[in-house]
Symmetry: C2
Subunit: 429 residues, 2 copies
């Protein structure tokens, strides 16, 4: 006998689960519409080279599904959407008025040890705004995310928006004598903050950073642009000052939108190689474990991989599954275990086998009049069928017995107040 379970780390989506996914994606689509983003999609399979170029080596070699097809092509099941988006943007951006606003709901794949919050097949939400380096494009990402969370009824105190700026930090590190290798180490150790106990973490930093450990630990205390500027001190370059000014402009633009949960976060540096400017994460704050719900940022050199022409963009990705966990923990999801029948929907049955054909025709007629009709294809006794309809959450039944056959009609029964209405069965065209 065959196994009924899906592959380890992958989910089946039964109608209950699918209703939840659809509910979430509808709210996201509403936000997309409200900000004039357009939906796109790309193939799940891509050549490996597309991801080797700018995603991390670890992601491509160790954490992805990749294989050689019958034609000898080395393929990957996309672990993220951004490289496919950049590839597609490069195909069309020259002929379009800029900037372009795109969103997508791709399935992505990672070969990781399955655990709560991590799946091997997962649905992502991706938004990108490409063709402008205005700080107001970065601010729009935050505004859009606020709309998304508001649409679900999540108040500002249930999550924080943590940001940082790659350009700011790179120039800070440069001014403090970090070479390229030390900078890469810095981003990887800083990213581990909060993922181990504080005492262990400080130990870890001292071990990894040797002569620069005190600087790194001080950096991690710097929770504002002023604190970072103080840290830069007299070493601050022109590039640093410019980046700091942009960050202040960004904060002020976001605050002007009535958003008060934006915080500068020294440890928010993002793992992917392609970020070059402001990076951000949404962090769950109120219920459940503290976790990043969403991450994104600005990339300047991604489209240049395809066209030689660099066009700056910003965007974010958010996992539907993680977002669902957050919404559940905060009591922000309806109950999807029972489908709620819409107002104009009915359970339709007949009491004797010979009445099937007439009843099916009546069901077709009701559908043409805008009703959703579930047709029971086998005859059944009235009490049993009414019970089945009620159990399925229906407010209305359509029933046909020998009396109705004589009159060539069907009875529309309101299960709440018992009212019956006879409807003439005519020929459907």
């Amino acid at each position: 006998m065959l196994n009924t379970l899906p592959l380890k780390g992958m989910n089946d989506y039964f109608p209950d689960d699918q209703r939840k996914t659809d509910y979430i994606l509808e709210k996201i689509s509403a936000a997309a519409h409200s900000f004039a983003y357009e939906k796109y999609d790309a193939p799940v399979l891509e050549p490996v080279e597309l991801f080797s170029a700018k995603s991390s080596v670890e992601l491509v070699n160790e954490q992805s599904y990749n294989f050689t097809d019958k034609g000898g092509r080395h393929l990957i099941l996309r672990p993220e959407m951004t490289p496919s988006m950049a590839r597609m943007m490069a195909r069309v951006i020259k002929e379009k008025p800029k900037p372009l606003r795109w969103y997508s709901f791709p399935n992505c794949y990672r070969y990781e040890r399955p655990q709560k919050g991590r799946l091997r097949e997962f649905r992502q939400i991706n938004f990108d705004l490409v063709g402008t380096n205005s700080i107001y494009a970065d601010a729009e990402m935050i505004s859009l995310l606020r709309s998304v969370f508001s649409n679900f009824g999540a108040s500002e105190n249930t999550y924080s928006i943590r940001f940082n700026d790659r350009r700011l930090i790179n120039s800070l590190l440069g001014a403090h004598g970090f070479n390229a290798e030390q900078s890469i180490l810095f981003f990887s150790t800083v990213d581990k903050k909060g993922k181990m106990p504080d005492a262990d973490y400080n130990e870890y930093i001292r071990e990894k950073h040797d002569g620069q450990a005190e600087f790194v630990l001080k950096y991690l205390q710097a929770d504002s642009i002023s604190a970072i500027s103080e840290l830069a001190g007299t070493n601050a370059t022109a590039e640093f000052s410019q980046a700091a000014d942009k960050c202040r402009e960004f904060i002020s633009a976001v605050n002007r939108l009535g958003i008060n949960n934006l915080v500068f976060s020294p440890s928010t540096v993002r793992g992917l190689d392609y970020y070059t400017g402001i990076v951000f994460e949404i962090f769950a704050e109120s219920a459940g474990p503290a976790r990043a719900l969403c991450g994104g940022g600005r990339y300047d050199n991604l489209l240049g991989l395809f066209s030689g022409e660099n066009l700056s963009g910003t965007g974010f990705g958010m996992g539907v599954y993680i977002l669902g966990l957050f919404l559940e923990e905060n009591g922000l999801l309806p109950d999807f275990s029972e489908k709620t029948a819409s107002e104009k929907s009915a359970f339709c049955f007949f009491t004797e086998p010979g009445l099937a054909s007439l009843t099916a025709a009546a069901a077709a007629q009701m559908r043409l009049n805008g009703w959703a009709v579930e047709f029971e294809p086998e005859a059944g006794k009235i009490p049993k069928m009414l019970g089945k309809a009620q159990k399925k959450g229906y407010k209305f039944c359509l029933l046909l017995g020998p009396d109705e056959e004589k009159k060539q009609c069907i009875v529309l029964k309101n299960l709440e107040n018992g009212e019956n209405r006879e409807i003439k069965v005519t020929q459907v065209h």
Copy 2:
């Protein structure tokens, strides 16, 4: 420089293409709702065994993407949805009131030579009704498909519904002395009818079927249940007569629904191994090449692979791409090349860099009032911006210049009649 094209045989879906897909899937969803079907989804990756059991060997070994993952599992990118549906049904059907009605829009994958109408990644539409062997379930599939085509405005003369019955044909063949091997050959040669010139085809049948060729050619002329019954003649078994009666009941049930393009088709036998009863195809008839748009049928032994308990079901699959070609050929699709801005949507801009923050706040405020707002993140002169808005199909602009800043308002401009309205900018929360 990296290639911008997707893999051979796979499509990128730019916003224009995506709007078309979404338009098609919305119409299908409306039909699903109207017949009380519930949406589900399964992982794209499955163990190969799931498909080896009941799909054709050719499909699994030669026409699919399959590979061994890092954990040594032999996986397949699903070439069709039915086995995953059956696996999932088997997990839950015992606890649910039967029958179950499910639909899905899965991406499926085939490693085939790409050609018009055939892609290596393709979106499918799948419907299944499981847990009843009533002929009215088979009739519901046809009723549902009629609704789908009507929803698109396709009249009955643009397509035909061709059907046959595996049980009927199997008992016909048995009565005429076909052994198992000869029956398999029969289904494969009969399936080739219409795929080569008639003269060549008759030659081909004579070559393949030797002593039975005349019977096969006569069979292919039998275009009604009566003609098939005549062919069976005195050899007709009780099983044959029963199947013929069921077919007549099916035709009558479908006709009673006002559907007049159902025809018995001797060559419609369907390639997949799991069909056991009525099988059907929708055939494009009016414009473009004659091709099957959709195929399906009844399967009795599919769920038994998982649970030992056999539950009969019926269902169909339809390719979104093929359906799209048919609709285009019949002039039944709107123009998706330009997005049509909805009534309450506006292009929002400012004339001087210093006004960005106030304008962004005004845009956020308008969105809270139900407007879709596209925000231009860089300052621009009024005529240029109005032109851009018009080119993008907007009826309204929101514009903010120095005068508006003084009054802390934004102007809502109707591009069709030139009317301006000032809206006060307040603090967004």
